[in-house]
Amino acid sequence: MITAGIDLGTQSVKAVILKDNELISRGKAFSGFDPAKAAEEALGEALKEVKLAMSKLVHVTATGPGMDMAPNSNSTVSMMGADAKAGVYLFPNARTIVDVGAEEARAVKCDVNGIMMDFVVNERCAAGAGAFIEAMARALEVKLEDMGPLSLKAERASSINASCVIFGESDVVSLIHRQESKPEIARAIFDAMADRVSSMVHRLGVNPDVVLVGGVAKDVGFVASLKRKLGIDVLIPAYPEYAGALGAALVAVNRVRKA
């Protein structure tokens, strides 16, 4: 049985294809102005990789903020539901899934079957999401991918306003003029974000194992800061940005079996 999951994020659309319960391919496209088209591209890329036609897909489940725009989908699942499913599939002992994407961050508490029990999200605020790092990298004039490694060179962190991306940006500009070191500023940026994210986890109660997914999980600087703030290890799968799509595809499998 072939199923697919599509995660329509604010920055990119991710698609994965499962054969029974086994992940066989992935695809990705930038959301741009037309997420529906991006979804077709991402799914098309994933299908092409394993030389499958769209007609072979038994069930397609969409998730992510743009899930209602997904073409050719049979059902949808909440982002929290998809995170929980994927987290436990990837790490059977996972009980807390932290998902940090471009514009969203959330913490999800789940049970042994990957059923979502409770969650906290960063509603209406970019502090704590990937957009924060992006804005700060621009202010610091450092490439986004260099931010993490740079921050790891610091022994201590500068102090910045963590409550708001826009205020944080102004703080970074002042710190540059005070000639504080870039690694220390970069570390402060990740610490600030990790503060926001760990406080979401604390609101749920810290239930190990904690799994980190979403595009920001690829940033070594953020990962180091989050581990420090939580005081426990954080598990990260390969391809963490595909977790939402994977969760959706797993939901698709369940829906076919139940039908």
Partner: protein, 302 residues
């Protein structure tokens, strides 16, 4: 002369930088010439006063370096006046970058300066001042002398400030000066957007455009949400008439008219700043220059 930019590189967010000198006034060395420099997060404003009367000002964009921006704004206020830095008896710095005004004799918080400046622009009847700048919203109550009696500001979040409007101007390709009028070109006021986070402004706008909303409707929904945020801040500090708006967003008719509606109050009329009146954007710098005069005179007496 600056060349007009090519059509494709138009920066719609870019507001007009300008300076003005009331040339019918002449300064003499014995006058108390003071200056106020208000370095905001987005705009830098400098005002020069002669014996407590506005003589000239300059308004420009704040660069990444606060001391530079302060100096440039002050130089611009002095341009064509024959004044030199030495002629200024006292300089007060204010605004977000007030500690970074190298030539200032003293730094004073922008809350005090805006109340004082509003009192100067509109007279002693002003009791509530809303200052909306690039990333700040401040609701200030004051007495008939322009002294602050209480205030509230957005200290944790920049949602609903001028920066968001710049993002919208750019994305919708509407010059920032026109954005207020355009936001009023809707037959029916749409519901406010749920999120005014500046960092999400782009996503928010794209989502609405995708739904098939017109530019005007998108702007109306965002402006509406901003006005509600500002209105709530004023309600919390307590609205007392007369009410005025200062800062860059005081020029946004879309914001002003919606705040008036939300609070069921009329603002005192905007000075004709394009002609011969004072610009509400320089209220903070005026207040700073007035404090400068008082401080200078106090120092002379002792």
């Amino acid at each position: 002369m600056k060349e007009t930019p090519q059509k494709e590189d138009v920066e719609y967010w870019r507001w007009q930088e300008y300076h003005r000198v009331f040339s019918e006034k002449k300064w003499k060395n014995k006058d108390v010439i003071t200056a106020g420099v208000d370095v905001g997060s987005v705009g830098s404003k400098a005002t020069i006063m002669i014996d407590g009367e506005v003589y000239s000002w300059g308004v420009m964009r704040t660069g990444s370096n606060s001391p530079d921006s302060a100096k440039k704004a002050l130089d611009w206020a002095m341009e064509g006046t024959g004044l030199r830095l030495d002629d200024l008896k006292y300089i007060v710095g204010t605004g977000y970058g007030r500690v970074n005004v190298p030539m200032a004799n003293k730094a004073i918080t922008e809350i005090a300066c805006h109340a004082k400046g509003a009192n100067y622009i509109w007279g002693p009847r002003v009791r509530t001042v809303l200052d909306v700048g690039g990333q700040d919203i401040k609701a200030i109550r004051c007495d008939e002398t322009g002294r602050v009696t209480s205030f509230l500001m957005n200290d944790k979040c920049a949602a609903g400030t001028g920066r968001g409007m710049e993002v919208f101007a750019d994305l919708l390709k509407i010059p920032i000066e026109k954005i207020g009028e355009v936001s009023l070109e809707v037959e029916e006021e749409p519901p406010p957007v749920s999120c005014t986070c500046v960092a999400f402004a782009k996503t928010e706008a794209m989502g609405l455009l995708r739904k098939g909303w017109s530019k005007e409707k998108v702007l109306a929904a965002y402006t509406h949400a901003m006005a509600i945020r500002m209105g709530n801040l004023i309600k919390r500090v307590g609205l007392e008439k007369e009410f005025v708006i200062t800062g860059g967003q005081s020029k946004n008719i879309g914001i002003v008219s919606r705040i008036e509606k939300a609070l069921d109050v009329k603002c005192l009329p905007m000075p004709d700043w394009r002609e011969n009146g004072l610009d509400p954007m320089i209220a903070g710098a005026i207040g700073a220059a007035l404090f400068g005069k008082a401080l200078y005179e106090k120092a002379q007496k002792s």
